[in-house]
């Protein structure tokens, strides 16, 4: 029996989108640090501008180093393509503005990264876009929140910071039943732990600042298109008909191009690049793309070690008397344990929260006593990190919203790095001991 040719994830992590530089033979992807690209002749220039030939014109729209990264993440996610953006926030914004405008509505999980919550709850309403937040575990709540003007469903693969596991197959089915796409923030899981498209999601974005780059040295985002959504509603999602005019109707900003006719599979990306990146301009620097490519080369190795270390630390904390609870979906008591086993068999990532049983002062003492864990606002670094969400990342949320998002005064969020786990446990043990003395 002839078997299809397949290239495995680890190999794609190293090679997808890249090849030795044709000009110099350089094996590493060069940093094409240039604003513009010279045209061979006038006809070629005009053809590039009018999408009759492919190539690079200006690095805000596309750049060869960024293009390698875009192909690589698309390959790892199983999508048709991607756009590299200035940050994860820029990727989320690009996804939204490509699909909808004033008068439209989004249904989103209420367990979101604080920055995403800010954008949806405080900033987008000023531009006429409303969002209803729902308990990500309650599919009936997702359904009830959908309105005629809803254009997007949005959640995180693992909610922040409570690690609510998004039931992507069920939420995607619901979205598609209503002719809507499901956008997923996959930052915490990366394609190594889960490929949301395989479960029904339509669009994925990453803060590549985190595990993809892996070393806490850049800010960048990636927006990936599955190429599966039926924007016209002429195929499998009839309810989508008429809902996405930015993709299905002539666009005066590009000679009346109809993006779904121009590209059957990548219409979303085409509009996002030809309008969103062109006009809003939140592009990625080629140097940043290079750094993220370096990180992705070792993504499979790093993620396996991140998860291995995390499991040991979760087990340690679960046995500590000053720890009231540990929220990690691999633990049987986590409400999404069964779902996590199904969707995340390789592990539930390396970011999780636990609740200290003591006072706020004890929490402060705990964080300030840690020596290996760095107290800062980031996750997904090779180095271990710690933060107190209620006073930092989620400080703008009301007490009620904090409670709904599963954040208490004593909640501590860890991002477990690649250090020796015994050293990390020693650090935590010493800090807990110090906190216990108060």
């Amino acid at each position: 029996m002839i078997k299809p040719r397949t290239t495995h994830f680890d190999t794609l992590s190293l090679h997808a989108g890249a090849r030795p530089d044709p000009a110099t033979g350089a094996r590493a992807t060069p940093i094409y640090q240039t604003a513009s690209f010279a045209f061979p002749d006038s006809d070629h220039a005009a053809a590039l501008f009018n999408m009759e030939r492919a190539g690079h014109v200006y690095s805000r729209i596309s750049n060869p180093t960024c293009a390698v990264l875009e192909e690589r993440i698309a390959a790892l996610e199983g999508g048709v393509g991607a756009i590299a953006t200035a940050s994860g926030q820029a990727a989320l914004h690009l996804a939204i503005v490509t699909l909808l405008g004033a008068g439209a509505h989004i249904v989103a999980s209420r367990a979101l990264y604080g920055g995403s919550h800010n954008l949806l709850d405080y900033t987008l309403p000023r531009f006429g876009v409303a969002t209803t937040f729902v308990d990500p575990r309650d599919v009936d709540a997702w359904r009830a929140a959908i309105r005629p003007e809803t254009r997007l469903l949005f959640g995180e693969t693992l909610g922040n910071p409570g690690l609510d596991v998004l039931d992507i197959p069920r939420v995607a089915d619901l979205a598609h039943e209503h002719g809507l796409p499901l956008l997923v923030d996959s930052t915490f899981t990366t394609p190594y732990l889960m490929q949301p498209f395989a479960h029904g999601a339509d669009l994925v974005f990453h803060s590549a600042t985190k595990f993809l780059s892996g070393h806490g040295v850049v800010i960048g985002g990636l927006l990936v298109d599955s190429g599966s959504f039926d924007w016209d509603g002429n195929g499998k999602y009839a309810a989508a008909r008429g809902k996405f005019p930015t993709l299905t109707e002539p666009y005066a900003g590009f000679h009346d191009m109809v993006f779904t006719e121009e590209s059957t599979t990548a219409a979303f990306l085409l509009r996002a690049r030809r309008e969103g990146i062109r006009d809003f301009g939140a592009c990625m620097s080629p140097f940043t793309a290079f750094q993220i490519l370096q990180g992705i080369e070792t993504l499979p190795l790093r993620m396996a070690r991140h998860v291995e270390n995390t499991r040991k630390i979760v087990a340690f904390l679960a046995g500590e008397p000053l720890v009231a609870s540990v929220g990690y979906p691999e633990l049987p008591e986590h409400p999404d344990h069964a779902l996590a086993q199904r969707l995340l068999p390789r592990g539930c990532g390396a970011v999780f929260s636990f609740n200290l049983a003591g006072t706020r002062a004890q929490g402060r003492r705990f964080i300030e006593t840690l020596r290996i864990f760095s107290h800062l606002a980031n996750v997904g670094d090779a180095k271990s990190l710690v933060i107190h969400p209620a006073s930092t990342t989620h400080f703008r949320m009301s007490a009620d919203d904090l409670r709904k998002a599963g954040i208490a005064e004593g909640t501590i969020r860890l991002s477990v790095g690649l250090e020796n786990p015994d050293d990390l446990i020693e650090d935590l043990s010493r800090a807990l001991h110090a906190a216990g003395k108060i």
């Binding site: 299809p4 040719r5 090849r19 009759e52 059957t264």
Partner: protein, 262 residues
């Protein structure tokens, strides 16, 4: 644009231009389990450089209604009906793979309607491997995976797309996955069963271009040799380091070959 051809609603991409009867016309014909979008760059170029373009979705494919046409001869006879519906007298035909066979056969059968013919990735015979036919018959996803594995040259299996940010094989997979059940099998059987390529080639009187990929293992250049021999006046362009997905792998080289010919 939308047309009614032989009673079915048919879609043809025109490069966002209205047809102008004063301009010459090119009909682009896609291959198995594909649609007009495989010609996106080339068709848009010609639409904006003095040509009418009809990059069709064949019946049963893409945005077109109807059932897929079951033989190369049936597609060849359908193309004049398309021209009639568009009120176009004659046209140059550009076909890829199955579409190249249909273009060849159409030029032989309907010589008055065809000014030139460009065959991209042709083979004669275009024999389809039994495992692929079997998988297609079962509507098994493996059929798409086999095609993807065989359609791109070794280098392009890992990407390096000319179109920024698009993952070649992922994009091709999603396009095939949009095909309705059974369509791929019909298309492959049409290729497999087409036995009159050399006879039809001998009857051609219009200029012919043959574009092949040196690394094509779906329709290897050696499989086009008999066809080339039967078309002694044909211009032959072989693209180095290129597989069967010529328009995606080397879009500019395909465009330049077509420009020089048309």
């Amino acid at each position: 644009m939308r047309l009614v051809v032989s009673g079915e609603a048919i879609y043809a991409y025109t490069g966002t231009r209205s047809l102008d009867v004063a301009l010459p016309t090119i009909v682009f014909v896609h291959g198995a389990a594909a649609d007009h979008s495989v010609w996106a760059l080339q068709s848009r170029y010609f639409a904006h450089h003095g040509w009418n373009v009809l990059a069709v979705d064949l019946p049963g494919h893409g945005r077109s209604g109807g059932a897929p046409l079951a033989s190369v001869a049936a597609i060849a006879d359908w193309i004049p009906a398309l021209l009639d519906a568009a009120k176009i007298g004659n046209a140059a035909l550009v076909g890829h793979s199955l579409g190249s066979l249909a273009a060849l056969e159409c030029a032989a059968r309907h010589s008055a309607r065809v000014t030139k013919v460009a065959l991209v990735g042709p083979a004669a015979p275009m024999t389809v491997a039994e495992p692929l036919l079997d998988a297609a018959k079962r509507d098994d996803h493996v059929a798409f995976e086999l095609i993807n594995g065989w359609s791109y040259s070794q280098g392009k299996q890992l990407g390096g797309n000319t179109v920024p940010g698009v993952w070649l094989t992922g994009n091709a997979m999603r396009l095939m996955e949009r095909t309705q059940p059974g369509v791929l099998h019909v298309d492959l059987l049409a290729c497999h069963g087409y036995a009159s390529a050399l006879d039809s080639a001998a009857r051609l009187r219009c200029p012919v271009l043959i574009v092949t990929g040196a690394r094509d293992i779906m329709a290897p250049p050696k499989s086009a040799k008999a066809l080339t021999a039967a078309l002694p006046g044909a211009r032959v362009v072989t693209l180095p380091e290129c597989g069967h997905a010529l328009m995606a792998e080397q879009p500019d080289a395909v465009l330049d070959a077509l420009r020089a010919f048309l």
